[in-house]
């Protein structure tokens, strides 16, 4: 439970000690600000940015403000919380405003940096010592979500909302031309605007929510290159060197979506609760793709070399998607409950594409040497999924309850077959699975609690080789209060999955163990300790066919992971109405197996009062990542923070 690490972030600022004061201040909260600096980064800076990405400079680490209007004319309370502003890789801001019985307004903004440049990821040039990944991006994704809910009466609540999700940046990706692929630059820019409105009707016996929404989407991607790019093919082909000398590819996607939602809950009689929902959406996408490339290419289909290529595609896809569920809780006796639920989820994707391709010779006399126009209405992707589940719960005593049940999952899918498929244009799959369910909960006073959930399934068909087929899933948990100040916890979970057919054999095993200790002597008045240790094993074994030799090979993946997190919090005697605090701990992760990795994040923090409403903050944190098989991907650096926390 890395609650330890979180505890520090989550803990509220020290109260200004006058809680008994009758008047509530019109403005309260705290602001943390300061500066971060780092030691020299040792190791791979691209991986550091892909994993940590924290920078130096002046920062607003956290602001948590509450504004109250004593007259309650426009609002009762406005809260504003912001985290990590000032060039940080992730910024958040949330504002809530309420006036009891009138309205509730919320807005949530996030700005997250997506950076990825990992040398070992999808890099065919790694064996030649080239550490520049061909799949990288540096994107900023921003999201804003606002909602206004009105309460004209206690029974009817209309609401409206708007959300925008947009991302922009650049990266490196590959342009593929039959026999060779070329790493080129690209730009990314997409935006989705979503509007919704609805009404909630709450009566004593039932509730209905009706919502209608829609979104507008656009995605603009561009690939470009103006240099002589020899690509990943390092040898000649039929005596010629393939290359790319110019590329301009534009990928414009636009679309929309409408959706409807109806939710219903009711308690018609005291022994019965009903829940139902009907959901519908219909996203649509239109695409215009243009490509002009020059260089030396080869077309397998036409078996010819050519010097330039023009491609134009126009396509459209829709996806009417309907989901529904019905559930009930039935209490035939005081200690018996029956949970019954049925759900269905189904969609199909009709699509069509118009393609126009021209292979060009770089001469003015007979420029076009191949290609043509093709219109294709594709077989739709069709999907239907259904699930029915019943659970019976018996409260043997108020401390012990047992649960048993059954889940039946069935469905079918028709998908477009991959190239070279032997099933024609489409492939069809089915899922048919019966799952037995069991569990118990036991609580002895408030000192000891035990619980377990178990599932065992048998399926005679599923969609993919790695899907759950014949599986057993178990999770157990125990909590024990050893002393008034010492709490212990233990969790264990396992998942075994087996696809037993000889040619499709797949064996998957996962175990997770964890123990947790919380020590809070005297109610954590002076010192507290939160710590946990987790141990996990994962093993996947599946075979595949090597096409050249037509022999079976194993895809074997194993991972043994150990994670330890702890935080010790020490409070010192009060000074200027606040307690100086020292916290230290951190998290350590180490794994062996297919990709041995170490990732350490020890941390120490000091808060020292300098004024009744101000504390000096200091933090040291060390990031250290190492990979035994990819030594060049390791990094380590020290981060230091100094700043102030101002209480208002």
């Amino acid at each position: 439970m890395c609650a330890p690490l979180l505890a520090q972030e989550a803990s509220a600022p020290q109260a200004p000690a006058d809680q008994a004061a009758p008047a509530v201040p019109w403005l309260s909260g705290s602001v943390d600000f300061g500066a971060r600096w780092s030691s020299e980064l040792r190791g791979n800076s691209d991986v550091y940015r892909s994993v940590v990405n924290l920078g130096e400079g002046i920062k607003l680490f956290n602001a948590d403000l509450t504004l109250r209007d004593p007259s309650r004319r426009l609002f009762d309370k406005i809260t504003a919380r912001g985290d990590s502003w000032g060039g940080e890789p992730y910024n958040t801001l949330r504002v809530d405003a309420t006036r009891e019985g009138t309205y509730r307004f919320t807005t949530d903004y996030r700005n997250i940096a997506y950076f990825s440049a990992i040398p070992s990821y999808a890099n065919p040039a790694l064996g030649r010592g080239i550490l520049d990944s061909q799949r990288t991006f540096d994107v900023r994704r921003r999201m804003i979500d606002t909602r206004l809910e009105l309460f004209p009466s206690s029974r009817i609540s209309p609401y409206i909302g708007f959300a925008r999700n947009w991302g922009a940046g650049r990266g490196v990706t590959n342009f593929t031309a039959d026999l060779n692929e070329y790493a080129v630059g690209n730009t990314l820019d997409d935006k989705t605007d979503t509007y919704h409105g609805g009404v909630r009707i709450e009566e004593r016996q039932f509730q209905i929510t009706l919502e209608q929404g829609g979104s507008i989407f656009r995605d603009s991607q561009r690939l470009f290159d103006g240099t002589t790019n020899l690509g990943n093919l390092t040898t000649t082909f039929l005596g010629q060197r393939l290359m790319l000398t110019g590329l301009d590819q534009s990928y414009q996607v636009s679309g929309d979506n409408i959706y409807s939602k109806a939710l219903f809950t009711a308690r018609p009689v005291s022994q019965l609760d009903l829940y139902a929902q009907v959901l519908y959406s219909r996203p649509r996408r239109d695409t215009v793709y243009r490509q002009t490339s020059t260089g030396k290419f080869f077309s397998f289909e036409d078996f010819l070399f050519f010097g330039a290529q023009q491609r134009f595609y126009s396509s459209e896809a829709r996806m009417p998607h309907t989901s529904g569920s019905f559930a009930a809780e039935f209490r035939p006796a005081r200690r018996v409950r029956v949970f019954e639920s049925v759900m269905t989820d189904r969609f199909h994707v009709p699509a069509g594409v118009l393609a126009d391709e021209n292979f060009l010779r770089l001469s003015l006399t007979t420029p076009i040497i191949g290609g043509g126009t093709e219109r294709d209405a594709l077989a739709p992707l069709i999907y239907a999924y259904n699930r029915q589940e019943v659970n019976v719960m018996l409260d043997i005593t108020s401390r012990l309850s047992l649960r048993g049940g059954h889940r039946f999952v069935w469905g079918n899918a028709t998908v477009r077959a991959p190239q070279l498929s032997q099933t024609g244009e489409v492939e069809r799959g089915e899922v048919n699975m019966h799952v037995g369910l069991a569990g118990f909960n036991f609580r002895l006073a408030q000192k000891l609690s035990l619980g377990a959930d178990f599932e065992a399934a048998s399926a005679d068909r599923n969609y993919f080789r790695t899907s759950l087929q014949d599986y057993q899933k178990l999770s157990t948990r125990a909590r024990y209060q050893l002393l008034p100040s010492v709490n212990l916890g233990a969790n264990f979970s396992l998942l075994n999955n087996l696809n037993p057919s000889v040619q499709n054999r797949h064996e998957f095993r996962n175990r997770d163990y964890s123990v947790t200790v919380t020590w809070t002597p005297q109610g954590a008045k002076w010192v507290s300790l939160l710590g946990d240790y987790g141990y996990s094993t994962l093993r996947s074994d599946i075979n595949y066919l090597i096409p050249q030799q037509l022999t079976l090979a194993r895809s074997f993946y194993s991972e043994i992971g150990r994670t330890a997190t702890a935080i010790v919090d020490v409070k010192f005697p009060e000074l200027m109405k606040n307690n100086p605090r020292l916290s230290f701990g951190g998290s350590l992760f180490s794994s062996t197996g297919s990709r041995p990795t170490q990732y350490y994040q020890p941390v120490a923090r000091l808060k020292f009062p300098v004024h009744p409403k101000a504390e000096w903050l200091f933090e040291w944190r060390w990031y250290n990542m190492g990979e035994r098989l990819y030594l060049y991907e390791g990094f380590r650096t020290h981060h230091f923070i100094t700043g102030l926390r101002l209480g208002l």
Partner: protein
């Protein structure tokens, strides 16, 4: 008719028209004594509401903290019918308890079974849109009570539950330490940094999707809230994305593998489904989807060990069947 002390607990005298023999059999099996229970209920029905001020006399600390809890609105809002009686809206009429100070004379949800405690809460809160997926959710099935996450008495900064991302994560991690351990791996969603919280992706009240994953735009998986560019529909969908979701290839909580992949090398993620055998004949083996990749690839060549350098549109393409553009 509802019991006055336990308004949410059905009176044993009034049940659904279950056949009497069956009810008796169930009662015997469960060790119930309907007659004794009835006498106890009748005695408690004599209790009357006395108002929260009476409770304050002995439970001063709880009363003060409760005034800063959003639940206190129950006692302030006339329309709810509990004006000045917020304590008794959950604990039942307190007159007997006020006289005897005996804990047996008052309803204490903390000592009830989870089912009864939840029923107490759901008496008022059942009819809310957030609970529509409750029965399908793991918390209801696993008997996690409402008060495990929503402290009713405490002053939680004016909230019924944690709101800051770090505080939400701390709360979830206290019961799901193994999941939180996965976030200590290098490639993960930014939860430890406080940029996201567990409830951004999961609805703790339940959802009709597995693992209580949130939905967006009515019935699409919550992953698309942020990863909207992967939404599609695509002319050429990569079917696992549609049929089994992102976790077919990614470990959403965290991984030691780049891009949170389930395997250490890209090719193995792909080859485990595209295993170079055609879909089996239904007579001999259950067919699975996607068995055949472009079978001419020389897997010894590093170029073909990294499938996504050519199949760049691995989540779906609008122009190319092989997902290369």
């Amino acid at each position: 008719m509802r019991n006055k002390l336990f308004p949410s607990v059905p009176s044993p005298k009034r049940g659904l028209p279950v056949p009497g023999g069956l009810f008796l059999l169930l009662a015997v099996l469960l060790g119930l004594n309907p007659a004794a229970a009835s006498q106890q209920q009748e005695a408690k029905q004599k209790a009357e509401n006395v108002g929260s001020d009476t409770c304050q006399a002995c439970h001063e600390d709880i009363y003060k903290a409760f005034q800063k809890n959003p639940h206190s609105v129950v006692g302030k809002d006339k329309r709810r019918g509990w004006e000045g009686k917020a304590c008794e809206s959950c604990h039942g009429p307190g007159s007997l308890h006020a006289e005897s100070a005996d804990k047996k004379d008052i309803l204490n949800p903390a000592r009830l079974s989870v089912a009864q405690a939840d029923k107490n809460c759901l008496t008022c809160h059942l009819n809310q849109a957030t609970h529509v997926g409750r029965i399908q959710g793991g918390h209801a099935r696993g008997q996690v009570s409402c008060v495990s996450c929503h402290p009713v008495h405490k002053d939680e900064g004016g909230q019924m539950t944690a709101r800051k991302a770090a505080a939400v994560n701390q709360q979830c991690a206290s019961c799901h330490p193994q999941v939180w351990a996965q976030f200590q791996r290098p490639y993960k969603h930014k939860l430890p940094e406080g940029a996201m919280s567990c409830v951004d992706c999961h609805n703790p009240h339940g959802s009709f999707l597995p693992k209580s994953v949130r939905t967006v735009a009515a019935n699409e998986p919550g992953c698309l809230t942020c990863h909207g560019d992967k939404r599609g529909p695509f002319v050429y969908d990569h079917s696992p994305v549609r049929l089994e979701g992102c976790s077919t290839c990614h470990q959403p909580h965290g991984s030691a593998n780049p891009k949170m992949l389930t395997r250490h090398e890209v090719r193995f993620v792909c080859l485990e489904c595209h295993f170079n055998r055609p879909a089996a004949s239904p007579q001999t083996l259950p067919p699975t989807l996607g068995g055949v990749p472009p079978a001419l690839h020389d897997l010894r060549n590093p170029r073909y060990n990294n499938c996504t350098i050519c199949h760049v549109k691995v989540h779906g393409s609008n122009v190319d069947r092989a997902l290369m553009r």
